[in-house]
């Protein structure tokens, strides 16, 4: 079956430092990867949508300079939170799907970021 592995599950970083999270798609080709954040007391917000061989599209309030994303092949994507501050804490999720053959978006288990 289709699975998305996301790691780390939890991470703590000091204010002003950076952390990277990764997603691995298994059992399907991740032609499209979306990164979401759920801040405390909020629902999931789309950060950016990455499609292989296309430019990554960032949502309003999110920038490549702050959340650089790599999507080098059909099974892997990573996102870094640069210069993390308190407002960046929350649960980060990657969701992936094969645009060519399936509609369902499969999510990883999330990376919970705590900023001290």
């Amino acid at each position: 079956g289709a699975l998305v592995y996301q790691y780390p599950r939890r991470t703590i970083c000091k204010s002003g430092t950076s952390m990277r999270m990764e997603c691995q798609a298994v059992g399907f080709q991740a032609t499209s990867v979306a990164w979401y954040r759920q801040s405390p007391q909020k629902t999931f917000e789309l950060i950016a949508l990455s499609t292989v061989n296309s430019a990554i599209k960032y949502e309003q309030n999110f920038t490549q300079e702050k959340f650089p994303i790599s999507h080098p092949n059909l099974s892997f994507s990573s996102m870094t939170v640069l210069n993390a501050y308190l407002e960046d804490r929350g649960l980060y999720l990657c969701g992936a799907r094969d645009l060519g053959s399936a509609e369902t978006l499969y999510f990883g288990s999330g990376t919970r970021l705590t900023v001290l």
């Binding site: 509609e103 978006l105 499969y106 999510f107």
Partner: protein, 110 residues
């Protein structure tokens, strides 16, 4: 305003009973997905619908793009159904972007 309005925000059910969650959309959506967030924080896929209804065990979902809503019905609720349920609608005009509802915290009690 929010494009996806999910209700109720919290729901308490006794074992064996049922209820429905609903998401209303302010624009025409191409498709909807329903998820349950489990105790480990993972989002579990429940349904993907581009139209009509789907049923899986004690869960049934419907999506009406024209009327701009989707529902998730739970019958014969069990303790393990507890968790937070999310609908997420796909705005086809925005490149397959999923817009999430606020979530419904379901508590099933003995």
């Amino acid at each position: 305003g929010d494009q996806v309005e999910q209700s109720p925000s919290a729901l308490s059910l006794h074992e064996g009973t049922g209820s429905a969650l609903r998401c209303n959309f302010t624009t025409t959506m191409r498709a909807v997905q329903w998820f349950r967030k489990n105790s480990r924080g993972s989002l579990i896929n429940l349904f993907y619908l581009a139209s009509g209804t789907k049923e899986n065990g004690r869960l049934k979902s419907a999506f009406d793009s024209k009327e701009r809503y989707s529902t998730l019905h739970i019958r014969d609720a069990q303790l393990e159904d507890s968790g937070t349920y999310f609908c997420a609608a796909e705005d086809g005009s925005s490149g397959n972007k999923l817009i999430f509802g606020i979530g419904t915290l379901l508590s099933v009690k003995p």
